[in-house]
Symmetry: C2
Subunit: 203 residues, 2 copies
Amino acid sequence: MDYPSKVLSQAVEQIATLPGIGHKTALRMALHLLRQPREQVHLLATALSELADNTHHCHICHNICDANTCDICADTSRKKDLICVVEDIRDVLAIEQTGLYRGVYHVLGGRISPVEGIGPSDIEIESLVDRVKNGDVSEIIFALSATIEGDTTAYYIYKMLPKGTVKLSSIARGVSVGGELQYTDNITLARSIQNRIPYDGSF
Amino acid sequence: MDYPSKVLSQAVEQIATLPGIGHKTALRMALHLLRQPREQVHLLATALSELADNTHHCHICHNICDANTCDICADTSRKKDLICVVEDIRDVLAIEQTGLYRGVYHVLGGRISPVEGIGPSDIEIESLVDRVKNGDVSEIIFALSATIEGDTTAYYIYKMLPKGTVKLSSIARGVSVGGELQYTDNITLARSIQNRIPYDGSF
């Protein structure tokens, strides 16, 4: 579209590079920013520049952090021999929010997906294998998506790991807490029967 | 939410100030930006800073522009005595896209809305009245929203303008071209019958 101002046009074009933002929404956002105090827009611009320049990935688990090592890996109260393998930083946030997990993580940064052109070398699998080989790891929990890609990734890691040195587990798949059976999809229901757990009168 | 990085946390917080963006979407955008080349993120940040610092409002019509006067007001082939009054810059863009209008604009920057606390002095009504008083204006076209606020704004301007000096008109409201009668809302349909136009065998 032909905007009356080159500066506006550039801003719209740049905002529209964000995921899920089209040109119409980008224009709405740009006009919204124009109505804000100048300092507010600079705060946003500075936060984005800082994001590009000053974020690091933890050299151990590849989580995002401000230093060389993330807070979770640096926390001495965490069980360093228990590694939860996730695809994305958002998965770490989700698990941390439960407040129940006291081990550490390994963020793969994606999953093996031939369709999207993501191979094993594109994600942090080698560094995970190195962690197991070099460190004192007793258990790895796979917390990957319940998709073919997620399963493929878990299987690939399983094949790469030295045999018998480490216990492997996967997070449970089943009917969600509060979920009703009749609304649960077939595959989840089938898996929840397959992977049934012993019942001793308590939950 | 507790993010593993302060820089990330700040970026998410700032992105979430954009209209229609919650914290989850903001996080998705921030993580998307982290996967982009650093220069791309800087381009976005610079475009936003430029937007805050280098956009001007045309001193005649209050459209956004890079100079003191916008391209439309500076265009000598435009009819300067025909002013289309709109609420927003996006309305200018929409009308310009039709390619049919050859007059100039007056961007109010909003509409009178007591509910939102927007009074007549908060939008560019006085400067419009000045344009009519000082200049050679023959017609004003109201292209405002078909809402109570839009009608109120038009009525207020009508009351403020010197009587009888300028022809006033409003864009036609009716069934949209290609629209089917049965799916048109009652008020629009009623208005389209009220404001029926003479038919001479041509469209």
